[in-house]
Structure formats: C-alpha cells, structure tokens
Symmetry: C2
Subunit: 375 residues, 2 copies
C-alpha cells in the first residue's frame, strides 16, 4: 500500500506524523486505533489483555497487530492490509510491535506512541527491544487530527445525534408518574437498538438520583415533582452522540423555572459566539460569568467537549484550553447544575462549526428550552 491510495484518515495521520518530524506513529487505544483502522476490534471493548496496535512509518509502512481471535474480522474489515495476529497466551504484542518498527527501519528514530494509554509494561519491553529509539507521546497529534471532521464523519455524527434526540423525545412522551427509571430505560434502549445503535450507554435519573452526574438507573418510581434526567451516549458506525434532556413530572416550581431559565440564557449567549475564530476558553468564561450573575455555580469545570469516535475528546470547552474554533469541529455544550441529594439540571446538545457560524446537530427535534413536562 502506498500513501497515495490510503484512506483520507490515514493520509491525515501520516501527514501530521511527517509535519512533526516523527519517524513512526503508533496507536493502541480503542478510539485512535478505530479512527485509523476504520473498524472497532470487538475485543477492545471487553478485554484489556488483548492489545490492538496500529503502526504507520515513513511514506508507506502500515500494519495492524491484533489478537488471533479477531484475525478474520480484521482481514475483512480493517483499512490495513498487513494484519499481524498473535496468540494472547504465548506471544507478547509488544514484541510484534518492536519487530514491525525494526522492519520499517525506524528503530533508531523518534517514535510517536500513545504514552497516555500504552501500558507501562509494553513501554518497558519496547525500550528494551529498541534501546536507540526515542519515544514521545502523540495525544495532541491524534486529537488535533481527529478534531477537524470530514464531511462523512459529520454526516455520521448527525445520524447518531438525530437518533439519540428522537429516541429521548419519544420516550419522554411515554413517561408516566409511577414508572420506574428502569421502565424508562427499557423504552430508551429498545428504540436505540431498533435504530441501529449497539454500543451505547445511557443514564436515567429521577428525583434525587437526577443530581448524581453519572448516575445509575434504579428501580425508583417517578413521583410528582421529580426532575427526570435522560442522557444518551449513543453510537452508530463507531461515532458517538451525547444528548441530554431534563423533564419535570407535573409542573416545574418557580425555583426550578428560574434555575432553568438562567442556564438556558447562558447557553444561548454562548451559542452566539460559536464561529471560527472564537476561543473555546472565552465561551466557557462567558458561561460561568452569566451563571454566577444568577447565583449559580456550574457543577462541571467545563461547558462541553469535542465529540467523535469518543464521547469526550478535544476541544474541551474550558479555560484550560487554547483551542480556537475552526470549521468542522464537532462538540457538545452541556450546562449542568446539580443540587446534591435534591435535583439535577442538565441539557446537552451537539454542534458543528461551519464556515461562518455553527449548525446545531441536535436540538431540533425535542426542545428543552423549557423543562419538559411529563406524566
């Protein structure tokens, strides 16, 4: 395989590798391997002992190392044609990686590798095998490459975002007082699977449970006056959604309405800033400032996060990031305010930066401008 015939994602990664002066680029994490290979090795989801590794080097070297159990699927579905299987019980994948780097002729060069994911034991073994190589991290390289989506990636994000929002809206239409959180989850999951999602997560929290950011879904019954928070972390073709709605069983209290209006006002002001050239840190600071003007201290130290093949990626919308918006960056904004033990307010939608502004990937099917009345 020459670089000319490579998939655009691989060409982008190889170009970033060359630009940074690296001799090779190596990924081991589920998200970066899937981004490169174009398919999710199932073992990556369930078994941390089965390493999957992709290697790019020089102008044309490319290979993928997989556990032998996944060899057939990798040969059928991966963008890599050079598939190197190993026996998980008798072979060390770090040795296959070292062999590949030696074969590619980069064993004395600078190798960019996922130090933020690679297990230390693999790092130690690789250094032993390649004592003259220099190893540097590549978290930033991957994130900056993945942050700017292709039109095809954005189309997939629209599919999964739209599915997720539609499903939440349909389920909220069915919620009745007396149903349990698990009852709600069954409706939610059934529709997600019917819509083609399989590797999703979800959260349904009511009453005090809604105030736990990453709550479990329990047998608690929904009672009049409860806030009900539904969050979907969906997937379609390895791209993720993150959509959240907050509903109220019955009628919102004056206090609930006031808090919600403050959060919506902060969000809507931030929306007006979504365009190329805006610093994500400024959006976050604006959000925090407006919330505080309404005596609300945001629970999270970020307003949102990039979204793509992982639920959370760059750009995080915080004042700790120096990223400036550019076209085709996809992300969420998720105003979130928890009153622990009492109730939680949370809305989350997906956005994409366009040439001169933004487009709301979600927010068009199930409005949460008001707390959604159910029951």
């Amino acid at each position: 395989m020459t670089s000319e015939s490579e998939h655009p994602a691989l060409r982008r990664l190889r170009a970033a590798m060359h630009d940074a002066g690296h001799a090779a680029l190596v990924a081991l994490s589920q998200d970066n391997v899937t981004y490169a290979a174009g398919f999710l090795v199932p073992s990556h989801l369930t078994n941390r002992f089965r390493r999957t590794i992709v290697v790019l080097a020089g102008d044309s070297f490319a290979c993928q190392i997989v556990v032998n159990v996944e060899e057939i699927q990798a040969r059928a579905r991966s963008r890599f044609t050079d598939i190197r299987p190993y026996n998980q019980f008798t072979e060390d994948p770090a040795n296959l990686l070292a062999d590949a780097l030696i074969e590619a002729g980069v064993d004395t060069g600078r190798i960019a590798i996922e130090l933020d994911f690679m297990p230390a034991v693999d790092y130690i073994q690789l250094r032993k095998r390649l004592p003259s190589a220099e190893f540097v991290g590549c978290a930033d390289l991957f994130f900056r490459t993945r942050m700017i989506k292709s039109d095809e990636e954005i189309a997939t994000l629209r599919r999964v975002g739209t599915l997720s929002e539609r499903v939440i809206g349909e389920v909220l239409g069915e919620v009745k007082i007396g149903m349990t959180e698990i009852d709600v989850a069954r409706q939610l999951v059934d529709r997600l699977i019917a819509g083609g999602s399989s590797n999703f997560k979800y959260r349904v929290g009511s009453g005090a449970n809604s105030s736990i950011t990453n709550c479990g879904t329990t047998a608690k019954k929904i009672e009049a006056g409860d806030l009900i928070r539904i969050e979907v972390l969906g997937d379609v073709d390895n791209y993720r959604s993150n959509v959240t709605r907050t509903a109220v069983a019955g009628t919102a209290t004056e206090r609930q309405q006031r808090i919600w209006a403050a959060l919506m006002g902060a969000r809507d002001t931030c929306k007006m800033m979504l365009k190329p050239g805006t610093a994500v840190a400024d959006v976050y600071r604006t959000y925090v400032r407006i919330c505080r003007e309404h005596d609300i201290e945001p629970t999270l130290k970020f307003l949102g996060h990039g979204i793509g093949q992982t639920i959370h990626e760059e750009p995080y919308l915080t004042d700790t990031r120096d990223i400036v918006f550019a076209p085709n960056i996809t992300f969420t904004m998720e105003p979130l305010y928890m009153i622990p033990g009492e109730m939680g307010f949370h809305v989350e939608d997906m956005y994409v930066i366009t040439a001169d502004g933004f487009d709301a990937i979600t927010g068009n099917l199930c409005s949460n401008d008001e707390l959604i009345p159910v029951g």
Copy 2:
C-alpha cells in the same frame, strides 16, 4: 481505618501485599479498582482520561483518587473513606498518587502497581517523583486474590448467570424465521434491563454471521437452516456473566448434529474432571484431544476462562497455565467451533469448583445438549 475493620476484599489484598513483601499495592484498572473499592466509578466505563486509583500501604494506609466529577458518588459508595479528588484539567493524578505514597512513607520501598494497565506517561511521572522506589507489576497478585471467590461473590455470580440464561431461553422461545438479529437483540436487552442488568454486552449472530466469534448484530433476517448464536455478557452489581447458546432455525442437519455431539461429548468428559486438584491445562488438553478424535480443530486456544468482575480473568483453561483447581474458583467452559463464512457452534456455561467437585452455575434452565430448535 485500621486493617481489622477493613472489608474482606481489602484484607485479602493487604495480606497478599504483605506476603509478597511489597510496601504498597496500587490499582488503576476498572476491574481491580472496583474489586477493592466495591463500587464502579462510572467514568471508568466511558473516559480513559479520568484515572481512578486505589492505594494500600503498610498496615492501614488506604486511599482512593478520583476525578472531581465522581467525588460525591465515591464518598457515598466507596469502601475507602479517604477520597482524594482532582481536577482533570489542571492536576495530574500521577502526582496525587506520588503524594499518597510519600505520605504513606513507602517512597523508598517496593511498590506493586498495575504495570500491565498503568499508562506509560503515569509510570514515567511516578518514577520521576519517586526515584528511589522500586516498581513491580501485580497482575498475578490481583488475579490470584480475585480467583478464589467469597460466598457472597458466588451468590452474585449465580444471580447474573441465572438471569442471563433465563433471558436467552425466553428469547429463543420467541425467535421466528424472518425476524432480524436486531429484533432478537431487542427482546434480549429488554429482559436484561428489566432483570437489573445495565452494563451488559451481547451478540446475536445467525447464518454466516454466527461464524464470527465476536460478531456484530445486524439487520440480517433469520432464514430456515440458520444456526443462531446468542451470547450474553451480563452484569449485576459489577459481577459478570458469560452464557452462550446455539440454536437452529428448523431442523439440524446430520452434519450439524454430528459436530454438536462431538463438542458436547468433549465438554461432558471435561466436566467429570472439574474438582479440586485438577490442573486446568489437563482439562484443556482433554478437550482438544477429544475434539480432534472427531476431526474438529477447536477455534479458540482456550476452553474457558475465569469469570468475576471481568468477563475474562484467571484461570484461563489453556495448556499455558499452571493453575490447579481449588474450591470457590469460578470460570466458564465454552466449546467453540467456527466454520468461517458458514456457521458457528458455541455453548458457554459458568461453573464453580466445590469442596469435592463442581456446581453448574448455569446450564440448568436452558439446556443446549442438543442444538435448540427454533422458528
């Protein structure tokens, strides 16, 4: 907290740490952290950038490091009372870990830490902060401690195993020719959620799709003559099941019956070996020998695997392991034979070794001694 008042799981880990002469024991992986803390930090499932770390040292030091987003849940649900939150954007959890080890007075000692999971970047930082410490892996320590289950753990494994087998049996009773794999998955998942599972995986494969070991679930319709393979990787209270059944739409062919009978015969011979004192390698060798006598070359290089807080743990039933069965070891046996592109044969049940034999955790509700006729 003194060690006398610690939870039995922590006491077992601390004893194993002392027996091995380690000054401290540190876990970072989802399964080992959950085993120690008694609760699953939700971020461990969705966000690899949010480290969760538990530290045991000396006779009484114990703390858990969590991302601030999870602080409230950790304080409410963890077995650790010393909870140390960090900001994921401004603090490095490896520094909190170094601080804890210094505070515990073990910074010049031998620290057992999950080198097979810990990201290299954390290892590099920790070595920088604690240049006089010695770091060694602890995969074996954790697996040998976790391998022998308590009665409470076995009871939880029975609950999740029974749920999984019951659900598969009920769903197979509903399968009709013309349904899609996704239709079957919807029935499966609805019942799993209703039964209290939430963090499950599943596989439904029919026809040629059944021959892919870790197949995806597709919109393919079930046709007469298809083999249908349903695998559930369930969870209840952080313990996992792994149960698989193979059905046939209509009537099994003579060839299918012959292959199945050979696999069942091999499995049943292995069952007779399940008791304290049997080497797992001998069970695997017996399985392979009998399969080969019937001209079947097993697709997997293991017959089964330990099961507990992870789907796959020790003991793997292979000839690469020197483990000998002892009471309260829980594991699966999963005869599996794939004819790529055509069909897959696979049955998986959960077992526990008792004082003088074994008990079948599953296999009592939905027999697969024959290919299950459906449709």
